[in-house]
Amino acid sequence: MIKAILIFNNHGKPRLSKFYQPYVNTQQQIIRETFHLVSKRDENVCNFLEGGLLIGGSDNKLIYRHYATLYFVFCVDSSESELGILDLIQVFVETLDKCFENVCELDLIFHVDKVHNILAEMVMGGMVLETNMNEIVTQIDAQNKLEKSEAGLAGAPARAVSAVKNMNLPEIPRNINIGDISIKVPNLPSFK
């Protein structure tokens, strides 16, 4: 079982915290303690650590990966395979990359809910739900479509943006039909 999933940056600021056990009042302390343990690690040492005291001591392991400015830490107990969880972190980051297009820390700051939604497709209640990236992305896309279709007037700017993005400018003016008069327009060069 996964006990907690934490993402924090190089200064210890939490960017995402998901706890699957009821740590009611100690969440901030756990984040600080975990940051303390993980930030001391060198670049080419192994990615496994014993958990700190607050999070369950030596029964729980911290499995982490460091990408640029962010630490992704999964706190697991002995029923999970360590190398498997390392793979899972990799899948998570790749999925974030696909959903956000070149994800960076700012995406995590401004779209926390989206990150939570992606995580919810992978890990549920502390157990691994899905490890196939394509499957996860399909579900996320379907849910995003559902959101967009519900958005009504508030979603109009977003729809306009995606319409312009998908427009194929050089193709449009070739045949303009105004009633009976058919005007043939010369091929416009594609402009970038």
């Binding site: 079982m1 939490p14 915290s17 998901k18 699957y20 009821p22 009611v24 009042n25 969440q27 901030q28 984040i31 060198d42 080419n44 040492v45 192994c46 990615n47 496994f48 650590l49 014993e50 029923s79 395979s81 360590e82 190398l83 498997g84 390392l86 793979d87 926390v112 809910d113 939570h116 939604n117 919810a120 549920m124 209640g125 502390g126 157990m127 691994v128 739900l129 899905e130 490890t131 196939n132 499957e135 579900q139 379907a142 849910q143 559902l146 959101e147 519900e150 958005a151």
Partner: protein, 431 residues
């Protein structure tokens, strides 16, 4: 979120959860999963809302309700919603089935009486056509079996079939870990497992799977340690594969290799002996986790000849160690290694006493009582070195005022007590 308490907003969160639009509902459930816990009073107001969402025609409404529920399910909620979730396990969409199966584990934890009626359906899901549902079912049963292995022995043949037919690495890993937990209870299972596991070890390219297979083979062999001769080949295979892991430049593999070796050490110390050089090399690794694992292995490595050199090496580490936990760990290990089997490996007790005195000079140790106990033990039992011991102790007492500062007082005072006792008891040797 971020650890700040938002329990004042609980009722508002429930209002958002009951919105008809998916966008808002999703946000409501997310807030609930982050902030609701068993102490939240208004949580029982959610029961009907969740029930409505579980039977919603939109699969994503149901999905979002299941995901949210898994984070804040309470015994009452579990009792009320168990039936609805059980029906969902046979939903037409695999997306829902997967989530329903996985949440059943949480429901079982909170409301154990639901396990009995749900179990037959859970077993059916092990043979579900969708691989996601199948792996969710395997996941749940493995977790249940870890808590209570006896009840799930009867499923072993089914899992055996799954193990030999599945190609999904996650499912295989879970099943193999499960077998590792079951073998202590059923040695015949272990015997049957050795062959398919050895085949997997030879054929797989995934390191994670290889490691789990090796781990389970070790567990099997430990439970079968009646010493059947043809199993020594399997042990040799394991040790060989572990050596490859430890020699790998990837630190993670090194760590896991050392972890598994220490399991073998307990029952087959001789097989590990031949790799002493590798372990000693790992002691010098700059990664602290790896050094700690290598320390664990040292018990089986010592002999009369190399004890002094190993302890000398450990003492140099002690000097270099920055964190006090690591230093304390080293200290305990040094004492454990030296004192194991009734000081079997110590040839020169005077040397041992001087090591103990040197350890006393460490800053801020928490194990002063260990050192004190050792000194007393050795001084009482080994008559020959009493004179030497007393002279060391009196030197220690004389210099005590130089050693003791406020941070060190905890560790030092117990040792000083021991030193004083020794001097008093064997005062005939005092000069």
């Amino acid at each position: 979120m971020l650890g700040y308490d938002i329990s004042w907003a609980a009722f508002n969160i429930i209002e958002v959860m009951s919105a008809s639009k998916f966008t808002f509902k999703r946000i409501g459930y997310l807030a609930a999963s982050q902030s609701f816990h068993e102490g939240t009073d208004v949580i029982m107001l959610t029961t009907n809302q969740i029930r409505k969402d579980l039977s919603s025609p939109s699969q994503y409404d149901t999905g979002v309700a299941l995901t949210g529920l898994s984070c804040f399910v309470t015994p009452d909620l579990a009792r009320d919603l168990a039936n609805d979730i059980m029906t969902l396990m046979s939903h037409t969409k695999p997306y829902i089935r997967k989530k329903a199966v996985l949440i059943m584990y949480k429901v079982f934890l909170k409301y154990p009486e639901s396990l009995r009626p749900a179990f037959p359906r859970l077993k059916e899901k092990l043979e579900d056509p969708d691989p996601g549902v199948q792996s969710a079912a395997v996941n749940v049963i493995c977790e249940l079996a870890r808590r209570n292995p006896k009840n799930y022995l009867s499923l072993a043949p089914l899992f055996f079939k799954l193990m030999t037919s599945s190609t999904n690495n996650w499912v295989l890993i879970k099943i193999i870990k499960l077998f590792g937990a079951l073998t202590p209870l059923e040695p015949r299972l272990g015997k049957k497992l050795i062959e398919p596991l050895t085949n997997l070890i030879h054929s797989t390219s995934a390191m994670s799977l290889l490691y789990e297979c090796v781990n389970t083979v070790i567990a099997v062999l430990i439970s079968l340690s009646s010493g059947m001769p043809n199993h020594s080949a399997s042990i040799q295979l394991c040790v060989q594969k572990l050596r490859i892991l430890i020699e790998d430049s990837d630190q993670n593999l090194k760590y896991l290799g050392l972890l598994a070796m220490s399991k073998i050490l307990k029952t087959h110390p001789k097989s590990v002996q031949s790799h002493k050089d590798l372990i000693l090399q790992c002691l010098d690794d700059k990664d602290e986790s790896i050094r700690l694992r290598a320390l664990d292995l040292l018990y089986g490595m010592v002999s009369k000849k190399n004890l002094m050199e190993i302890v000398k090496k450990l003492m140099t580490h002690v000097d270099k160690a920055e964190g006090t936990t690591y230093r304390d760990e080293l200290l305990t290990k040094i004492i454990d290694i030296c004192s194991q089997s009734n000081y079997q490996y110590i040839t020169n007790f005077e040397w041992y006493i001087s090591i103990l005195v040197e350890l006393t000079r460490l800053e801020g140790t928490r194990h002063g009582h260990l050192i004190a106990a050792q000194m007393l033990d050795v001084a009482i039992r080994v008559k020959a070195i009493r004179k030497f011991a007393v002279s060391q102790m009196s030197a220690l007492l004389d210099s005590a005022h130089l050693l003791a500062s406020s941070t060190q007082r905890n560790g030092i005072c117990e040792v000083l007590y021991a030193a004083a006792w020794i001097c008093g008891e064997f005062s005939e040797h005092l000069q």
